[in-house]
């Protein structure tokens, strides 16, 4: 069974002209790492939060979000609590904002499992000590306050906290963005080890394509509420089939590229107050034709690889071309 399966998720917010999420399909198998990549406003965070039904006020949804086979969007409050404490857990970007500075790390780690009576206090403390060890922190951290730990240490506490209920799905929303580059490696290595050891499915939300390529089995690229492209990490980066993916790969300043002008993507994503006809990327796309402006493309598999899908009318024009030409 898949750790997470999202089918045709459509999410509307009051005061917007179009759905913020527009038919999102996404799967994370048990023990698999999937990177969800996108820029701000792409809907990547909303998508990951939907797995815990952490939706903005006034949001209406269509479609299905299955965690461990159960539909999150329709379950009752009791099931939802079990889901959030035992089945799926989230690691947020800013560990300082996610902890209470006045409470000890030990309380923070054991609170959810003892409150929901999943474990006794003694069992919870034992589990917390075990997990702190797994993330490379000594048991003395239990008596510390968040302010006494560095950002990297605190993020490791957050990872331990997420694993307390032994979840089948781990959601990590930009977990390394607030960290220094050298501590980023440590947190990523740790997540990967734990995913392997506990067989957890990992959805890694990031804006960093390089990081996504480095850590994931599969990548989903989102643009304006839709999945533009999804496929195995290495093929998607070597041979992107969506012009947006290709442009994202070419845009950032790179260490191995010659100095000079960067391949910026002109314009900006369409406003939420604007209705969309056709492809969301058409206005910024070099390959766009009248067809793109009038009809939204459906995801189509690559001829050679059924797992590599792109929602583009002209993906054949990109095939065979170098990704970062």
């Amino acid at each position: 069974m898949n750790a997470l399966e999202i089918r045709g998720l459509r999410l509307r917010l009051p005061g917007t002209a179009r759905p913020v999420l527009d038919g999102v399909d996404l799967t994370v198998a048990a023990g698999e790492t999937v990177a969800l990549v996108g820029e701000s406003g792409s809907g990547k965070t909303l998508t990951s939060r939907s797995a815990l039904r952490l939706l903005p006020t006034g949001a209406t949804t269509e479609g299905r979000v299955l965690v461990d086979g159960q539909d999150v969007l329709t379950m009752d409050a009791a099931h939802l609590r079990t889901l959030r404490t035992r089945k799926a857990a989230m690691i947020f970007q800013d560990p300082r904002a996610a902890t209470n500075p006045l409470r000890r790390i030990g309380d923070f780690l054991t609170e959810s499992v003892t409150l929901t009576k999943v474990m006794t206090r003694a069992a919870a403390t034992e589990r917390a000590t075990e997990l702190l060890d797994a993330v490379g922190l000594p048991a003395t951290v239990l008596d510390r306050y968040p302010g006494q730990l560095s950002g990297g240490q605190l993020q490791r506490v957050m990872i331990a906290a997420a694993l307390m209920g032994d979840p089948t799905l781990l959601l990590a929303d930009e977990p390394t963005t607030a960290l220094d580059v050298t501590s980023q490696a440590e947190v990523v290595a740790l997540l990967d080890r734990l995913r392997e050891r506990f067989g957890t499915g990992l959805l890694f939300v990031t804006h960093d394509l390089g990081l996504a390529a480095a850590i994931s089995d599969r990548v989903c690229v989102m643009y304006v509420g839709r999945i533009a492209e999804t496929g195995p990490a290495d093929t998607l980066f070597a041979h992107p089939r969506h012009p947006y993916t290709a442009a994202l790969l070419a845009a950032p300043p790179r260490l191995d590229a010659p100095a000079g002008r960067l391949a910026a993507i002109d314009g900006q994503p369409p406003d939420l107050r604007q209705e969309l006809t056709g492809c969301a990327f058409a206005a910024r796309c070099r390959l766009a034709t009248d067809l793109c402006r009038t009809r939204a493309p459906e995801p189509v598999a690559a001829p050679a690889d059924p797992g590599h899908l792109a929602a583009c009318h002209h993906s054949e024009l990109l095939e065979g071309s170098a990704a970062h030409a």
């Binding site: 050298t182 490696a185 290595a189 960093d208 394509l209």
Partner: protein, 277 residues
């Protein structure tokens, strides 16, 4: 440590920093830092949090005072705090700063046009402001429609363009950019980096680029200094430092940049070895 710059006030240098130190309690945030920025040049200061890069930048701009050391702009040393309005304005015309967060650096209540007009009125009271405002907006790639907008109606990239326009308005000798593109999306970041390159080519304003991103350093600086724990561990032409880093910390920074085939375990081990050593 790199060599002390010889003749820090030589005419080719628009900015010279010599022996800068600043302690906060027992922490030596900036520890004997020296570098020069040639006229129209671009110097990157790279480091992680706690490296002292931002404190260095704040001392250069004058938002923070050094315990010892000297900052010289266009051959004129800046000693202590500015005294009086005239000196404050004169210093502002020497160095301008662009901050990381475009959402915090603009007054939410006033339009883009009013923000630029206020700066121009302070520094050039006798100029035709309307024409200059149009010129500045054009220079940063914003239409005249943006002039009437409040910051909340602009995207992050547009706001950063406004912040750059406001810094350009006083025609400074040096622009200090503190993680100025870090908060922008990849596609927008490239636009702003290209814009900054164009502005430097057109105006000859020197850049001091504070960043943690080696890719950004690669694309917009000629020279780079690498800081760690308040000290400069390596300095030199950007291309050379990045191609053949001398210091193990520079090597660690380079290896930490995620890419396919990246080995986070090895980086974590290298980081611990360096911290222990």
């Amino acid at each position: 440590m790199p060599d002390r710059p010889t003749g820090s006030a030589e005419p080719g240098n628009v900015l010279a920093v010599t022996g800068l130190s600043r302690a906060f309690g027992a922490v030596r945030a900036v520890d004997d830092v020296s570098f020069t920025l040639s006229a129209g040049g671009s110097l990157g200061i790279v480091g992680e949090s706690g490296s002292g890069k931002t404190t260095t930048a704040r001392i250069v701009v004058g938002l923070e005072q050094a315990d010892t050391g000297e900052v010289t702009v266009r051959g004129r040393p800046r000693h202590g705090r500015a005294r009086g309005r005239a000196e404050r304005l004169a210093r502002a015309r020497e160095i301008q700063m662009v901050f990381q967060d475009p959402y915090l650096s603009l007054d939410p209540r006033i339009t883009v046009e009013a923000a630029l007009r206020e700066t121009l009125r302070l520094h050039f009271p006798h100029l035709d402001h309307a024409r200059r405002i149009a010129e500045l907006l054009d220079q940063v790639g914003l239409g005249t429609r943006a002039a009437d907008a409040l910051p909340r109606h602009l995207s992050g990239g547009q706001r950063q363009r406004v912040a750059i326009a406001r810094a350009l308005a006083v025609e400074p000798a040096v622009m200090v950019l503190d993680e100025a593109v870090a908060a922008l999306d990849v596609s927008v970041q490239a636009q702003v980096l290209n814009l900054l390159a164009d502005i430097r080519a057109d105006t000859g304003i020197g850049y001091l680029f504070i960043t943690h991103d080696l890719g950004v350093v690669r694309s917009v600086t000629d020279e780079v200094v690498v800081m760690r724990h308040g000290r400069i561990v390596e300095a030199g032409p950007t291309a050379e430092v990045l191609a053949a880093p001398d210091h193990p910390y520079t090597r660690l920074l380079l290896e930490s940049v995620p890419r396919p085939g990246w080995d986070p375990d090895r980086i974590a081990a290298a980081r611990r070895a360096l911290a222990a050593g």
